[in-house]
Symmetry: C3
Subunit: 252 residues, 3 copies
């Protein structure tokens, strides 16, 4: 039973919360999960960080997360590196061996043709992975050239191709990228173009900053899908979703 449970309304969160692991130790992760394990369901080993682990440690970490029904996957950048080297099959095989049960497909740092993207999506789904695809460029200049209409079109194509969830890129910083301006505030027009055209449960918004999490919760509700959450902010985010912090108290 949870502490002070008489103060809380019963909630059945159906939202997705994706946490960013930048290389946290095994015991620290285990210890963290005893408190946070019920409050997120997707875990990304950021960009190419997975390659710096010994195989045993990453296997153990994946198992640990799975005990809490948290799906794990390597960052989309690693997929891009494998794709550039024409080693997608080896990549998926190794991911499977290491215990990852989800895959992210992105083209944030490299060019990938639509045909190639679709092919990869099909392959990942056939092999039984949960699939996230990402829309957006990591280079701020290139990202700013992407129109919201283009993002919508790509999201729709990915969903037609059976992507389980489409991520709107915001990186670890959340500034000057995707729907966020240089201060990290939401650009309303860009946000609305995506929001009105895509079913909410199919979008995961990367929102690393607290004010971004608050804004999206107040706009779209407590169950909005949020990602790139820092390991130290998991509990904070859950309190925001439940109206247990000043910013959302009485508003969700």
């Amino acid at each position: 039973m949870k502490a002070f449970n008489f103060l809380l309304k019963d909630t059945k969160g159906k939202s997705n919360t994706m946490v960013l692991d930048k290389g946290q130790g095994y015991q620290t992760t285990k210890d963290m999960l005893e408190i946070t394990g019920d409050y997120f369901n997707l875990l990304k080993y950021g960009w190419g960080t997975s390659t710096l682990y010994k195989r045993d440690i990453i296997k153990d970490k994946n198992e640990l997360y799975h005990q809490y029904d948290i799906k794990t996957y390597p960052g989309g950048t690693l997929f891009e590196i494998a794709n550039k080297q024409d080693k997608i099959d080896e990549y998926l095989q190794e991911a499977d061996k290491l215990g990852f049960n989800a895959i992210e497909i992105s083209d944030g740092s490299t060019y990938i043709s639509l045909e190639k993207r679709q092919e990869a999506i099909t392959k990942v789904k056939e092999q039984g992975f949960y699939l996230l695809t990402e829309v957006g460029k990591k280079d701020l200049k290139k990202d700013s050239e992407l129109k919201s209409e283009d993002r919508v079109k790509l999201i729709q194509t990915d969903l037609d191709n059976k992507s389980d969830l489409v991520i709107v890129e915001a990186r670890e910083s959340g500034k000057n990228i995707g729907i966020f301006d240089e201060k990290g505030n939401i650009k309303e027009d860009d946000f609305e173009t995506i929001n009105k055209n895509i079913p909410q449960n199919k979008i995961l918004w990367e929102a690393p900053q607290k004010n971004q999490q608050i804004d999206l919760i107040l706009k779209l509700g407590a169950d909005v899908n949020l990602g790139n959450i820092n390991v130290n902010d998991i509990i904070s985010l859950e309190t925001l979703r439940r109206g247990l912090r000043g910013d959302t108290l009485g508003k969700v």
Copy 2:
């Protein structure tokens, strides 16, 4: 014995240092306390985070902190939620069962009448808790409408009512709130109005940023009461208090 002890003058800190726990794991906390346990005496489980813990874990964490003579309490926001639901008695009973030995009363996010506030203060003191009350609004606009004179009056009333320590609100960010401007710098007039009217040992200044800690130490001395200290900054703050960091070396 401490390392390099011949370099230090003997200090008998009488100051209060309040640390903000945003949901840190049990083992990580235990491990942290072996190094930091001598350097703070108050621990706040931020806002409503306590409700996301299993009861056993929060009991164990409270016990751990008490072993180092650190008083623990749930954030003032949780008190406000209990008050809104007319469940203050249940709240205090549960807090006691879970091993909290301090309580914070605040009205940062909701309206509470002065009578109600006084009534709650009396109740908390009667039940033997250490009592902190807080002055300030979490909403930046509402907070900016609070004049320093009003803050002083409320602080004095709380102290007359036997609050042990009054907190000047600055949130986790320390920006655009209380005595701090939008960059986190001290607003001299607002600071002075409080400082000259209230005994220093009765005020705890929330000061999450390093420059705020430095400024208050240089203004009020090494023993100034400081709060909302990040778990990773406890040692840094203690070095600032003792002149062991460039910013205060030779000045305290």
Copy 3:
């Protein structure tokens, strides 16, 4: 064997990476090292933090780091405090007893004559410590009065005196100090004056911010010496060095 090893080119890093420890617990450090231990070789207990440890704990932490061939040393500020009290001999003796195998000599917060500096350098080297010396003032105003030419001259003198590595100061913040402007961006002229006059393998650039690490890697190559790395950013930095993150992918 490392995960996804078929995606990586073989690298033999000869670079120095210096990590800043602000008071991390023993078990947390041990756990962290299982993932990060291969990716840095110098560890600084920031400024005077060493004096807040019990002697046993700091000995144990030093041993732990040494198991990964990581050299450890107390921050330069502690050297300055010892120097001010005329206790350099005691300082070096205690450092040795506690298991430190490197020493930093700096004058960031106090005035030390060139003769005194040289004398200390000689003493430290004679006793077999690895020696880092630092150039720069912690006070932003004083630091801004230091011309790049003066920095170069001091660096050259230190190297003539057999300092193993010279640190260019940037503090924990990396703003408005040394080669960085108030936003943390590189000041090209100041950077170039140092860079063109000193062999790259003899300089360690403090670069706590991600954008600083990227800029220096893109300017000077993957093997540039970088310092004041946050314990949570060790893996991130290594991915930047290896082109495993969007910012340097295909560029290193």
